[in-house]
Symmetry: C2
Subunit: 320 residues, 2 copies
């Protein structure tokens, strides 16, 4: 939720001279996006989003992100499409920041998705996984297991300031996951942040998928684990088996899940819970005084992680 870098109308006019997208009708900063500056631009030709990439998004990764959106869109995934400049560039520099214009998507993200939405979004995730095949670029998951230890070290003992026993929970989880993390499951392009915020609905159908700025190459089933964690827990912290089953069943109807993938889901859900716990905890303990978003509560994910750690075997999720 943020506009960190100011874009004046005069800046906008200079920028639009580079593009063939008409004349501006309105231009407003959007209270969305964790660390980028986003603007909703309406021209006489349509609606667009202008993004200025702030510190968290490496400029070197822009060809991956923007190229991926192009690749996916060409394969039927409704996602923001980079709009090229008149001379064919996907990104430019504006006020010292890398910037890109993408198409605006209609649709509204749900805070409390129902079973029908979990299923629709899961089928879309499977389509996204299949559509990512053949994409020429690749990107390592910086927030995969190798990234967890440095984050955990940076957090240190301050973890317990946020919740009693958080430090031990993290240490035990890191040790278990180092032992249990699968390394032989199918991999490819994953969204890696497929939360309800990033799926836009039109009525009960998926209208589009947004925010590809964590996308990378990793296990498809890990993406599924991230989705199960972020779509199937209720506000009171309980896991909703009905949603979990509907989600998996819908995903499988588009992309078959191997027995090995299904079996690994509990450990992948633990890993994904730890990943979001660590980044949220770090941001909670190190609030950026310039941030215009409130840090998210890490305890949502310590609760999920504790839940997964007390599950004795995969059957308890009733995945099958």
């Amino acid at each position: 939720m943020a506009v960190y870098t100011d874009v004046t109308f005069e800046d906008l006019e200079g920028l639009l001279a580079l593009y063939d997208i008409g004349t501006p009708l309105s231009f407003k900063g959007i209270a969305e996006g964790v660390e980028n500056s986003n603007f909703h631009l309406q021209t006489d030709r349509g609606d667009f989003i202008l993004t200025l990439y702030e510190k968290r998004v490496a400029v070197a990764d822009l060809p991956f992100y923007l190229g991926l959106m192009d690749h996916l869109a060409a394969r039927g995934i409704v996602c923001p499409q980079p709009v090229p400049t008149r001379d064919g560039r996907q990104s430019v520099t504006l006020n010292g920041k890398a910037a890109a214009i993408v198409t605006f998507l209609n649709g509204i993200s749900l805070r409390r998705p129902h079973v029908v939405h979990c299923a629709a979004a899961a089928a879309e995730l499977a389509r996204l996984h299949k559509a990512g095949e053949g994409f020429a670029l690749s990107r390592v998951n910086a927030l995969g297991p190798h990234g967890w230890k440095p984050l955990s070290d940076a957090i240190g003992n301050r973890a317990d300031e946020v919740e009693d026993g958080m430090r031990a929970l993290i240490d035990n989880s890191l040790a278990d996951l180092a032992r249990d993390w699968p390394n032989d499951l199918p991999t490819g392009i994953v969204h890696a942040d497929y939360f309800p915020d990033n799926v836009l609905f039109m009525h009960d159908a998926v209208g589009g998928v947004i925010d590809f700025y964590f996308a990378c190459n990793d296990m498809y089933a890990y993406d599924l684990g991230i989705m199960l964690n972020s779509w199937c827990f209720e506000v009171d912290g309980s896991y909703n088996i009905t949603k979990g089953k509907a989600l998996l069943s819908a995903y499988r109807s588009v992309r078959p899940v191997s027995e090995a993938e299904a079996k690994a889901l509990p450990v992948l859900m633990r890993g994904s819970a730890l990943r979001f716990l660590l980044t949220r905890l770090y941001d909670w303990l190190n609030p950026d005084p310039n941030a215009l978003v409130r840090p998210k509560d890490p305890r949502e994910y310590s609760k999920k992680l504790r839940f997964h750690r007390q599950v004795r075997n995969a059957d308890e999720y009733e995945f099958s």
Copy 2:
């Protein structure tokens, strides 16, 4: 720039059931508005703004603000128009906050208005002053001279933390203005925050005026003073006489300015500079940890105030 109160899709659905404005296509928080939560809503019938009124806007004043927009719109001023609920209410309660839906205006605010924009916006301000006549409600200017002393007291000696000599500048200005403030000039409805942010342009013409949440009854010429301060100074702090003259001339072409009003402009500009200096200084020294906007630099207005205080007579502005 902010979304302080979250509005989920589920909240929105419940809200829209009260209105006859179609089904939602998109809904995004806007990084605009000092202390309210604003959302851009697109439906199959058009574009709207949903505002949730946070602490700074007194709910008791909503009939004034919303009624004023209705009154002005009916008299040809392009401004947001409150959309009534099916049962005729202009505001409702949403998530514990007073809320209203108004029409969305096209147009873009300028950060660096040229002479032509100063003139167009000034003519619009004069039209707004005339259109406000006959509005049934009234509202005292809480940030007029009677509001300055309490703000100044709340700031105390910390003023000098921000700039050497700021305390003396404020004290001397308060004393001079208590002596010089006019009390016999024409009054009526004024915008009271007619900054470039609040005027939307389409090319070089005014497309609309927004943000009526400081509007009140006060001297028309004071509104003109606020406008001169916020439109006619350059980034380097210098007063642009060409803009000032064009602004006044355009205003006068719509609403004649009496000799007494013209003569009072320098003191009204000092008063308006002090008013924005005080509120900015207070916010600068008392940052709200929950605020999602950065406080504006009060020194912009101490510089303007110092400039006005060294002007020996009105002729130096070349108003005539």
